[in-house]
Symmetry: C2
Subunit: 219 residues, 2 copies
């Protein structure tokens, strides 16, 4: 819906040349041209034989591309796939989250040798009452963690995951609520940034909290 009107001049009339688009978005002109050639960014309106005009929808799209590339570390082909899903109004927001999760990783190896662990994780997730697709990459990541713990000789079971599940549940309830405002492009931008940047925030805070509690114990 958004994309189909992108070639049309912005109704607000804020139409700019590529140099200005670059200045506003801080994306270098060669990168903008690359995204245009790759079909990630729709062409501007041709205003003269060698000149095109861009509007604020190009600004938004460029922002989203940069988030996917710079924050999500996605390759161009994957960016194209995500943008296609964003532009396809039949793709629900829930499906968009699934696509973002699948593409953003963390990517785990094949789970075929982990049949027991995958089955245990499935029972664990079911026990939590969570509605999660069979193919959600998080399931496989948990199975790999379980297998790693066992290989190290730890008598690990999914019981050890409960405190983490409770923490994740609380955070996710907030996150999903806060992400659902605005246009589809904005929502996907928030999903990607929220997923990647707040992974780092959570991991960093866990380290700091461990140091704090360790300091408390050591006196």
């Amino acid at each position: 819906v958004l994309l189909s009107t992108l070639a049309v001049k912005s109704q607000r009339g804020d139409v700019v040349r590529i140099s200005e688009l670059s200045r506003i978005t801080k994306v270098p002109i060669p990168s903008i041209k690359y995204y245009l050639r790759e079909g990630l960014l729709p062409p501007g309106e041709t205003t003269a034989p060698n000149q095109a005009a861009y509007d604020e929808r190009h600004v938004h799209r460029l922002r989203l591309i940069r988030v996917l590339v710079e924050v999500g570390h996605l390759g161009i082909a994957t960016v194209r796939e995500v943008l296609r899903a964003v532009d396809d109004p039949t793709t629900s927001l829930h499906d968009l989250l699934g696509i973002a999760h699948r593409e953003l990783g963390p990517h785990t190896r094949d789970g075929a040798p982990l049949r027991d662990e995958v089955a245990e994780v499935d029972r664990f997730v079911e026990g939590l009452g969570w509605r999660v697709g069979r193919a959600a990459p998080g399931r496989l990541a948990l199975a790999h963690a379980l297998a790693a713990l066992r290989q190290l000789g730890w008598g690990a079971s999914t019981d050890g995951f409960f405190p983490y599940a409770r923490a994740a549940d609380k955070l996710a309830a907030r996150e999903v609520k806060s992400v659902s405002r605005g246009s589809r492009a904005e929502i996907v931008e928030r999903m990607v940034v929220g997923t990647v940047v707040f992974d780092a925030v959570l991991i960093a805070l866990r380290r700091l909290a461990q140091e704090h509690h360790s300091a408390m114990r050591s006196g």
Copy 2:
């Protein structure tokens, strides 16, 4: 303390050859020889001109080396540094945690251009009442996250970190408590595994919980 007695024959008398050591620990003989050459694994007791005997302390040490290499993805020089700290009784458990954190990453780039963000994070951590060293890598990671959010045009402040800090605080209290049993080598092993494997567990569960809450909203 542990190390100084390693060359002595195990009191339990469970002395084995290198082939048996490899079988027990599932570490290939060439890797064991490599760790011996690099000084990570102390030599066994020479029982014949071309034969050495290893005891259960070699088994424990090999386990720890494998955890550092395979789970922590540390290089040999870093493994050596961690082992030296483990073997030095003047290094407190709290300092061991600091060393593990520093080496395990996530490694962030220089924070010099982020003076404002670092100062904000310092105020935030102080506001939480956490006892955390000035050089804790988590501080810099948070400053980078804050800078990334701002560069994306989000009006981000450290306030957005609070729910994550609360979750991290609860988890860390459990983690630090559960890690503090056993020998120093066992504690470090649990620290490294706990840090690396449960990072992955937490991230995976956050994704699954997001999918669940998204499914609940989309009906």
